[in-house]
Amino acid sequence: MRLTVNGRNHDVDAAPDTALLYVLRNDLQLNGPKYGCGLGECGACAVLIDGVAARSCVIPIEGCANRDIVTLEGLGTRECPDPVQDAFIREQAAQCGYCLNGMIITTKALLARNATPSEQEVLEALRYNLCRCGAHIEIIRAAMRAAGHTLEARD
């Protein structure tokens, strides 16, 4: 199987029904997408497939042929982060950070289809991404910052 991940082609020796998540983590040694539920419920495993958010835990690699897959690593690096990553870092939008991958990817996908979402649209876009620590407030601020909104300073 040939997969295109973060702009590079990878030939992967795995069964076609293998979930993309395991190939990304184990064969490609990527850390961004994470196993959270295996049912597409929580969003921790999110990646972009052809620019749309996708839950890599429920998509087998046979469904990914000839598609453009982008993971958290493909957005940017610590030295040169994507604007969405940068917004999340600046807003300190995580506690444990396990859900952070899904939050960033989902925000990235949102901004790709709606460059200036309202707060309500941000809430709805993130509805199916679960965070257990309660970092939601900062996550919303990060998404709003990434969307170019000016944020109120916090006392």
Binding site: D17, N31, G97
Partner: protein
Amino acid sequence: MADAEQGKRGSLSVVRSAVLGAEGAFETFVSITADGSVNAYNGHVDLGTGIRTALGQIVAEELDVSFARVVVILGDTAVVPNQGATIASETIQITAVPLRKAAAQARHFLIARAAERLELPVEDLTIEDGLIRGHDNRSISYGELIADETIRLELTDDVPVKDVSAYSIVGRSVPRVDLPAKATGEPVYVHDVRVPGMLHGRVVRPPYAGVDAGPFVGTSLIAVDEASVRDIPGLVAVVRIGDFVGVVAEREENAIKAAAQLKVTWKPGPALTDLSNIERALRANPSTPRQLIDKGDVDAAIAAAAKPMQRTYVWPYQMHGSIGPSCAVADYDSATIRVWSGTQNPHILRGDLALLIERPESEIELIRLEAAGCYGRNCADDVSADALLLSRAVGRPVRVQLTREQEHAWEPKGTAQLMDVNGGLNADGSVAGYDFSTRYPSNGAPTLALLLTGRIAPTPAVFEMGDRTAIPPYDYENLRVVANDMPPIVRASWLRGVSALPNTFAHECYIDELAAEAEVDPIEYRLRYLKDKRAIDLVNAVAERAGWTPRPVRQEPEPEGDIVRGRGFAYALYVHSKFPGYGAAWSAWIADVAVNKATGDVSVTRVVAGQDSGLMINPEGVRHQIEGNVIQSTSRALMEEVSFERGAVTAREWGAYPIIKFPELPKIDVLMLPRQDQPPLGVGESASVPSAAAIANAIYDATGVRFRELPFTPERIVKGLHGEQPAAALAPPPQPVQRNKWQNPFVKRGGILAGAAALCAAAIGIGAAVLPWRAIAPITRTDASVFSAATIARGKELAALGACAVCHTADNGVLNAGGRPLETPFGTIYATNITPDVATGIGAWSYPAFERAMREGIHRDGRHLYPAFPYTHFARASDADLQALYAYLIAQAPVRAETPPNALAFPFNLRPLLAGWNALFHQPDTFRPDPSKSEVWNRGAYLIEGLGHCSACHSPRNALGAEQQRAYLAGGFAEGWEAPALTSLSKAPIPWSENELYAYLRTGQSRLHGVAAGPMAPVVKELAALPDQDIRAMAVYLASFNEPADRPAHEALVAKLEAGTAVTGAASAGARTYQGACAVCHEVGGPPLFGSRPSLALNSNLHSDVPDNLIQVILHGIAKPAVTDLGYMPAFKDSMTDSQVAELVGFLRRQFAPGKPEWTGVAATVGRIRQTIAR
């Protein structure tokens, strides 16, 4: 860095003799190396709260170095001090104390040494980022002072630390050090550990899900069938020790497959405690009363009360619910046994691991890495032990991650709790007495592998943990508090707020009730009994911030439609650790709620959360903790409750255990009192503690009804307001399956079989008259080169039309090589090999033999073929088409593959009977066009009636399995799936039209009906080979059996159906499952995700007379869609119980097909379909 420091190897460390370990062993708190870098060591770990950052600030401050220079090392047993488990918000308050002193001590030592070197008095020196400077501008760095020396200072207790007024790093907000790595996918978590040669393991847990005490624990395994996983590629081992079962494979997905596939036999389930009524279960659990305080004369005071008030408060079992299931890597084979873990208590776990594998602790190194937040204790320890056992078994490093289902089922729960308050009011409205009793099942939760392997006995231990904040913060004159210590019922551990949160729920609701009875404003009433100055300041500050208006008597709120609004207050000083314990931060809440009196939905719209945390090391970090606590505890109060069936945990995914979602968040206003002159206090839990009471008090303010049991679900609210159980919450009782008669051929039913046998016997006479059939002589394989490429290509299309490969290819088998079992009511028939292999396929078949099989259902050797092979349709094909099909099949590569013998019961195993069947039901005529119809219609008819054989599934069959001609395309059953009616008898809310049929057959999806699933998915996949005009012809033909399409009317109906069925609430378990598991891909208007977004309101399956297809797709998912663009649906069979699926199915039917009657016998159908194999 100064050049002089280059190459120096010395260090300065501040140490303390180890509490445990060998003579002379010591623990290091701070070390500074000659290059000027600083390492700080702490025995606690960062559970996502940011203590790594806060501890770095403390060390940088006391050492007078920049924050960036300090590296904080947490939880690695080889290097960090043993400071116990990371619990009770005590890292900053307790375990940071020696670290601060150690840093101060190092600074004192270094500045004294500098004074000596520079020959200046200490008072004349200043320090900036580790550089000590005299007033004469001479300077010397820490590194230079250390140079090549190894300096070890014994930590002293009386070392002076900085005055708060001198702080420049502590008390300022510092960005978390860990976030850039986490936001960019650098390896951070234990989940990211990759060791050379690492294998992947998974465990299989016993059926007594979530229960860890009782004689059945560790003794319930009967057998593990290793043969059941023999086909898994790269399987390394199946490991069994007592009730511990695990598998190890080279690749992770194969370990997952093996764990799911492994056949394990367990003893019948033990009788577990019935937890359907928590109050009853906790009262029945044996307990030992432990009196914590007895002040005044409580009994006399209550006896004399003017208004006695006895109340009971109930807290449910709840989950930590870590977003990442626990993971660990163990390497048993190295010289030192190494375990990479996300544990909360590295040293304690190391002890457990040593016990587990019977090796000394000193041989085990436990390396702590970050993990998903856990707010207490999740399965991090369990999985570490699992990994170690598996690594020991295979002698290689093994990574194990628990499944979501295992984490949910087996995580030690936040325990249920029961609080009884007896008391009342005096005539003057003062509190007469307060007699408080709390029942808290214990929370020891030994590391699971110790229990499962039998290393320790599964004897329930009783701990004194129910007493946290059991004494109310109010100065009641007559006060008695008793903690009833009891063994666990369900595996439990501390969860944020431990017993303090439920105890405070009772204290703060009760005082609210007292105030209401006394007709005094609830805040004012509290202040009468609150003596703690800082508490009073906080309460007043929060009331002011929220704009609290005194409410001595509840006012009925002005309703906004069904919505009423209310406001509630609660306060707590979280007193934790061993009784009498000590206080963490003070916290107070004012919660605003909106209650929908019709639906019972409660939303918390705003929370003002005030906190006095003493000195805040990192104020932004404190704010995050407050917000996190507010959000999480609001979630716990509103919706969280572990579900059980027969005493075992059944909530195994986020639909069964919902947590708060973004749109449900309250607005949060955080008020942090400036107390930088006071000692720092734990902030990890305090803001949770007033939550449930503040919300309950607000619901009372809104509705006038007191709710004393969590969670405040819509069902509970509706019941409280209207005194009735909403019908939606009740699952219908299981009833026997009823089916229409025509569905019977593919359902096993004894009566029908008997009838069929009788008819078959009658048919023998007819059959005998037309026998015998002769064999057609075998040929040596036909040379495919006699066929033109165009003929072969046309044949390939026809094979796709006939979907030959769908039946003639086994799962994971070679194309057309046969072997797929076809379950029929008459037994199992195996599809044959139709590749041109001479011995096992059709290589020896001449065209006449092939044609006879296709038209008459006779094997080349003269045997009758079973009509599972649809020759009754194929007979309609033209000669040219059959020749092309033959050409294609013969041109394939031959594959040698024996077809397994059929397994049919008598008399169906008698092939000659089929002659009679054919005489009754088969008309071997080719297709004759209907001149009254269009050419395109006739083309469609030819394709559909002939090779397409659509009615083979979509028409009902009679008792002998023949299609009922009078009910053509009126719906049938195949492979456990309903093949719905394609005519105007369709149950779908919107009739089929040519365009929708075309879309469905071409793309696998009709927006107005749904996506192809089950046996239809591969059919559509095959049809991809056909040209558009053939698909269009099929659509035209099929559409002619429906009313003419009225597109505007359809569109209007779509809008009406979708708007009318939008899911806004979650008023039943089924609705919550939908919200948690289904809505992400199915709610209309939800955020786009890869794949299709089928609208359930329009879906044929929701509107059918039978729930089979819906249940099929929920249990088995869609692993092989017609085209990958449609996306995939996961299978939920291993994540939901039969009754959970039945509740979901019931909800989906009520919600999305509101005009249709409820399905009956759903639970039984779920049980039956669970046994079938996924298509």
